[in-house]
Amino acid sequence: MEHVTTVSSTLLASFLASFVEIVEAFTIVLAVGLTQNWRSAWIGTGLALVLLVALVLIFGPLLQVVPIAILQGIVGILLGLFGMRWLRKAILRASGYIPLHDENLAFRAEAEHLRNQRNGSRAKYLAMLSAFKAVMLEGIEVVFIVIAVGSPHGLTLYASFGALLAFGVVMFIGLVVHRPLSRIPENSLKLVVGVLLTSFSLFWIGEALGVDWPGADAAILGFVVVLAGFAALAIRALKSHREVIRMTDPVKGQTL
């Protein structure tokens, strides 16, 4: 039961987090391909993927020589910073304090930027660089998530499978619809991922400090429930706060 909980939560966290990152990279690569040329898009993507594989091959084996308690501690802290950042942003977006991430908008902004340098070899180079940068930056996040959720329990293979599955699903949907994947509930996914990664963070920092969590690995599910409940309450409270401001001062309330 414990093992099933750990494997399934690792797979789910890795799949969902990678899915969100890959959707964002896909939007930029699509913009490069459609507005400039597909050659630049594929070269930029390919170069970034090669570099990412090299990073995994270099840093993956290095992690095996780090004592497990230290690894759990470091990964726990980094996951906490990463997860809380996502959770905070997702709560603020869900409650309307900051705008939702819009893949259509991101696509149009990138396409507009690329159209301004439509011709010449420099334009091709910049287009390739855009694809490279997007895949590299989002890819680093995917690599971090895979290593962070997988390595402390020796489940990197399962975490990698989750990321690969996400890659396959995004590519499949992307090839079918051939436009930005704007209908994916990105903020809800980010909220779930924020909750999952923060739960892993609490669990592993505790383990590194010698905390004997009740239910062992199943404690992760308990953290998920607590954090999800907190997020739901926070969203509700912030939404009603906005409503109060809107009612008392409609003009300023609209700026929220």
Binding site: L78, M84, S201, G206, L209, F230
Partner: protein, 71 residues
């Protein structure tokens, strides 16, 4: 140098959005590590402080952000 700076900013951006949130979180972790190591609290109670600390830090960050957005 510029490339390194861009890389550093991107890497920092992965983990830090609200600097105060990150600092407070590290403070909570250091506090819990301290009280468990010095045996001031049993580890499980220290773990509980960690969970509550995370929630308080997140609540503080949300409150601070929305307070600044108040008309």
């Amino acid at each position: 140098m510029t490339v390194l700076r861009i890389l550093w900013n991107e890497m920092r951006g992965l983990f830090v959005d609200d600097g105060a949130l990150a600092l407070l979180m590290l403070g909570v972790i250091a506090l819990v590590a301290g009280v468990i190591t010095l045996a001031l609290l049993p580890p499980l109670l220290g773990g509980l402080v960690l969970v509550v600390g995370y929630l308080l830090v997140l609540a503080e960050s949300l409150y601070r952000f929305t307070r600044h957005r108040r008309p």
